[in-house]
Symmetry: C2
Amino acid sequence: MMIMALLTIGDFSRMTHLSVKALRHYHDMGVLEPAVIDPFTGYRSYDTGQVPAAQVIRRLRDLNMPLDQIRAVLGAPDVDVRSQEIMAHLSRMERQLQQTQAAVAGLRALLAGPAARPAVEVRAIPAVTALAVRDTVTAADAPVWGLDAFGSLTAALSSAGLTAAGCPGALFPSEFFETERGELTLFLPVVPAVASAPAGRVQLMEVPAAEVAVMTHEGAADDIDRTYGALGTAVAERAIGVDGPIREYYLVSVVDTDDEREHRTEVCWPVFRTAA
Amino acid sequence: MMIMALLTIGDFSRMTHLSVKALRHYHDMGVLEPAVIDPFTGYRSYDTGQVPAAQVIRRLRDLNMPLDQIRAVLGAPDVDVRSQEIMAHLSRMERQLQQTQAAVAGLRALLAGPAARPAVEVRAIPAVTALAVRDTVTAADAPVWGLDAFGSLTAALSSAGLTAAGCPGALFPSEFFETERGELTLFLPVVPAVASAPAGRVQLMEVPAAEVAVMTHEGAADDIDRTYGALGTAVAERAIGVDGPIREYYLVSVVDTDDEREHRTEVCWPVFRTAA
DNA sequence: TTGCTCCTCACGTCACGTGAGGTGGC
DNA sequence: TTGCTCCTCACGTCACGTGAGGTGGC
């Protein structure tokens, strides 16, 4: 760890293409400490040996990695942890890229004009017994949470010796859309039976009956707001809406096929019990 | 433009998957005004007819379009201007995506360990006459500016009846790296001759002589900080650096080939005149 | 009357950028 | 001595999120 040559912050800036302001910020945040700090003038001096670290920081910032994570990556004791954190970040970025592509496609579709909208059907859903997982989740985490929760449900299904009685569904409280965070419930209807109590985070619950307006969403979940808009509009214009959680039923989902175009989701909006 | 049904902010949030906080913010920013505002309570009411606009906003925000631009897009009088602005944004995003991919590749290369570094050569560059364009530019705008300036230079070359005497180069003041903004000079050496004065923003200048350390960067410009780091390190460790603008000479660049891997750029770092 | 929804400030977040105002070294 | 580089606050930016504290409608 020999010091090879000390550099002013200006020289170091030129060598790394990091702005002086950014370097000072990285110092303040503990991401990249100068090799020497003059106790009288406060002048920072960097070492030529710090150039590679600065280049890594620049790349990670280009990839939008937060400074806290960069500090953790650079401070990781062994190389495995380090590359593991980087790979985790890259896969998060890949997911984000897919979302971007979906947004571009969705935008084109929107601007091309309103698509033919599937019909709205009013339906009475009876109460059912179901295995369920309930957690407080943010909108950003919801897809991953859902997949994980579904894994727990299928595991509990077999270990409790129960039989599925329909496709999985979820309950979304109003709060979830209004604040992008709320307590979600993923459930899997089962044939009622005397069974051993489900273990862990899976519980047996009664999904209440409901009168709902239903519209089927075809395709990837990124576009599902279009169906919400069309369904909500239909409900509002008929003035039949009531309070209560929105439901989704996953007729065909990622657990059935990787081709998102084949996915089918029923969106259910609560309406008056009196609606014919 | 008939009002079809009024919605509370909560209902509108559920229908568009925009958070209530976001909707209030869009109102404050003039991006999406509620159809009705109760003068006593301040309650906002939206119209079902506003759902499509909200969906477009959501897509554009997913694409990181700033609210100012979104307001402009939605307010655009004709569809041509609107789709033009969107296309411009998409191409900016595409450029950003390329940068992301370059950052991933660059990161892999950095973590794989230091590459074999090309040799540093100390060279005396004589003064030359050149056509030049000079502008104050930010680091983010520099590549586009450079391409545009080169176009002006070649146009001026033929209209002034001059002959090129070398490949194009650029001068970068220290300030440009330290603040990511500064006055850049792109120049094209010419055979001195009595010629008509160049027009517009192109001027005839004397590029001063300089003693420099030179390293050749092979490949895309996104990676050029690695060469700056290696060159700056070499200069610092020999303690031969002096003040002065850094130069780049574009031996093979985007004007010669679209294959970035073939690009070759000489980076020139000012050193003592006495260096042998 | 009790929840629930809605409202308006005021402040926080994140990674710096933008001055202001001042000092040190050649 | 004059520039130039460096320093430290303090505040701004952008698109909201996070409470605090309060009101209206069923």
